[in-house]
Symmetry: C2
Subunit: 306 residues, 2 copies
């Protein structure tokens, strides 16, 4: 599959019926993963509230990991050194370990694994990596996931305004600044990383209401405001946050470019917004004439690290 | 106290011997706080690994909060609406509740509280708000805190290079981009917010190793790289992360401006780095001829929200 075919496969990915078994009770979850794999944990954490979830994107896991911890290592390649380092520690501490990977060292580690199809860019396999968490832990039923998939299939058809936004961003060489809020906090980070990885441009994200406690003044008084393109994602769940967004726009005089959400449930909304971010970041790479698949610098980094 | 006197009081603040009692066992901690109060929770979370800690900077707490949860509400003013909203929920869910505040609604809420001196900018009262967590939960001894304070007293004397950095940032109207890593992840966020609140300029932070999984390519290939001033904080704890930092600098050709750390223990290093951020952001406000205390837009926002 070429890049855009990988992007288009997102709705089918989440329908994939593979899940892992939960062997014993747990009272906290630690998910370890970097970049396009780690985002899976962040999205899950925004959907799940039954027990504490900590997403680790580093070499070390916290000391509190124990036998009552469900530890999920996610690495698309299966060879991410940070994730493998955390896996070893989780094993020593006696955690219940599950893995999600397409192969590599993680696939050979002997822990129960959901194997996902290989040969893709990790960030384009988000649906495959998220699906087992939706089924095994969130216990969403097949119907809910099916209806989310059918909403996702509509996103590309309505994406011409996303292409226009991408053109405006690129023609003025603006840095996208994505403003998130519940339920799009992890999603705003996903958008940032998609602009980074697909479009090869810098991007920034912040979150309301926290933004109001430090960025309100600079959003009016800083130099350099015209170098950014401010994007807001759908509508805040919380009515107070919605008011904050409106007032922030009035007070700063900034133009916030809103991206429409689709669907009704939290899952549908989040996944549809993620998918819109896939397209806009792809359009940036197209407009800039760059290969969105290009990860040459990261390959070189890994070589020099080894 | 004027602004710089408030900044200078940081070493004395952490020496303040006020702590709350832990009434019963807990197995997780939730800290609720926004902006200059919420950062206290983030710094604590980077120092503490015994139980899961989640820092909430929003209106809602997770459903898992229960009788086994230590819930700490931190609001300098005591009137932060997000924090008060979470307090109500925590009470309903039966959590063990403690508060840190200078007064306001939170001070009158009837829960055991560490009261801190009023009349300061919340961000300048960080030491007062952090001290009870260091004593009650981290159980640091007075000697360790004393030695950290004496290191903090040296920071301003050695801050001329921070003033120079601030001048370089302002004269070219650059946006500071702070690159953090263990043990300076929360600190890199504190730096960002201090540039925001004191200097009234936009700022960005990212974290290694996560940065290598999405920002490596744009740090070489994006337009607009010259609009940023990249700052790295001291030395990474992890040797692999240190190598990542070196190689990232080589591959991207970017100049990273390093800020020296002081002290030997994790606490000393973190607090010293935070204090350096206090000074550099103050220098930015001085150079721009702005009042670092000015929060007029936030006052206006609160008025329109009510």
């Amino acid at each position: 599959m070429n890049f855009i075919e990988q992007v288009r496969s997102f709705p089918e990915q989440i329908l994939r019926d593979k899940a892992f078994q939960i062997d014993r009770k747990f009272n906290k979850i630690v998910i370890s993963g970097m970049g396009g794999s780690g985002i899976v944990g962040r999205i899950f954490a925004e959907l799940y509230e039954q027990f504490p979830v900590q997403v680790i994107s580093d070499y070390k896991i916290p000391d509190y990991v124990d036998r009552d911890t469900l530890f999920i290592a996610i690495s698309y390649s299966g060879n991410t050194e940070e994730t493998l380092s955390t896996l070893k520690q989780a094993e020593t501490l006696g955690a219940q370990i599950k893995t999600i990977t397409s192969g590599g060292e993680l696939g050979k580690s002997g822990f129960e694994s959901v194997m996902v199809p290989s040969g893709m860019q990790p960030r384009n396999a988000l649906g495959y990596m998220l699906a087992p968490l939706l089924r095994s832990i969130l216990k969403l039923d097949a119907e809910e996931i099916k209806s989310a998939a059918s909403i996702l299939r509509e996103i590309e058809k309505k994406s011409s305004y996303l292409k226009e936004m991408a053109e405006n961003i690129c023609s003025d060489e603006l840095i996208p600044w994505i403003v998130g809020y519940e339920p799009y906090i992890a999603t705003s980070y996903r958008w940032k990383t998609q602009f980074n990885e697909n479009g090869k441009i810098l991007a920034v994200n912040s979150v309301i209401p926290e933004l109001n406690h430090n960025e309100t003044m600079p959003l009016k008084m800083s130099y350099g405001l015209k170098r950014f393109y401010f994007i807001t994602l759908g509508n805040p769940i919380n009515e107070r946050t919605a008011r904050r967004l409106r007032i922030t726009s009035e007070l700063t005089g900034l133009k916030f470019h809103n991206v429409m959400e689709a669907g009704n449930t939290k899952l549908q909304k989040i996944l549809s917004m993620i998918h819109s971010g896939d397209y806009i970041s792809y359009y940036v790479s197209e407009i800039r004439g760059l290969d969105p698949m290009d990860v040459s610098l990261i390959e070189e980094l890994k070589k020099r690290l080894s």
